[in-house]
Symmetry: C2
Subunit: 155 residues, 2 copies
Amino acid sequence: MTLATAEHILTLERTLPVAPAKVWRCWTEPALLVQWFCPKPWGVSEAVMDLRSGGRFFTHMVGPNGEQAPNEGVFLELVPGRKLVFTDAFQAGWVPAKPFMVGEITLEDTAEGHTRYTARALHWNAEDKAQHEAMGFHEGWGVATDQLLALAQTL
Amino acid sequence: MTLATAEHILTLERTLPVAPAKVWRCWTEPALLVQWFCPKPWGVSEAVMDLRSGGRFFTHMVGPNGEQAPNEGVFLELVPGRKLVFTDAFQAGWVPAKPFMVGEITLEDTAEGHTRYTARALHWNAEDKAQHEAMGFHEGWGVATDQLLALAQTL
């Protein structure tokens, strides 16, 4: 039995000149996450992270003109310091919700003690992937990653 | 923040006159699962169970006239002896797949040492729930549960 090949994936890969442990903190501590998760001038007014499989991952994004974008989801998998997977396909309690994507963050050590950072967005279909690309995936996740790095370097 | 109420759920609740540990074995050992998982005369020709969050849960159902119904999915949550949650919304590796349902099996002790058995099918929308009901959820899961009980009583 061959599994289907993964499709509809957008990927950002960067080497970040900071230790993986600091990147992990930025991704898993709500007080840090809110500082970098949205490209400015957008921000995050609240983050709830129940760091276990099935635990709630909620972020409330706010725009410069009062735009409100609450996002409910759950964590699917956590490998401390290494890997974090989440999705909006469920609300807490495995309650099905209209899915848009799975986010998968992987941290690896480089020889220099820096972070090989891979962020993938896996979509259910080509339309969602195209929409995410049109919404500015590469620029948006790139800017957010710059913000993450700047914060991690202060830790 | 109030989470949405769970909707589109089909539920089977039974008290099974057998210990939860035996029911758990029937649900988690492939060699046992294939014996009860499909209402006869359908059967299961192969079962693959990687019992961890994100691990593959594959069953290949076969009908009396050669019908073939392979089902790919993953486990979402496992609480040994107590709770098992799976879905077809992903293939192994958290690869998104067209979702139909989440299956949630909960085992509780009764005062007699028997099993309070709750099987829930959570769907993404009303249409899928209605289709599942029309496909014979209550009869099908009921018969399968009878088969599970008969097998568990031999362990």
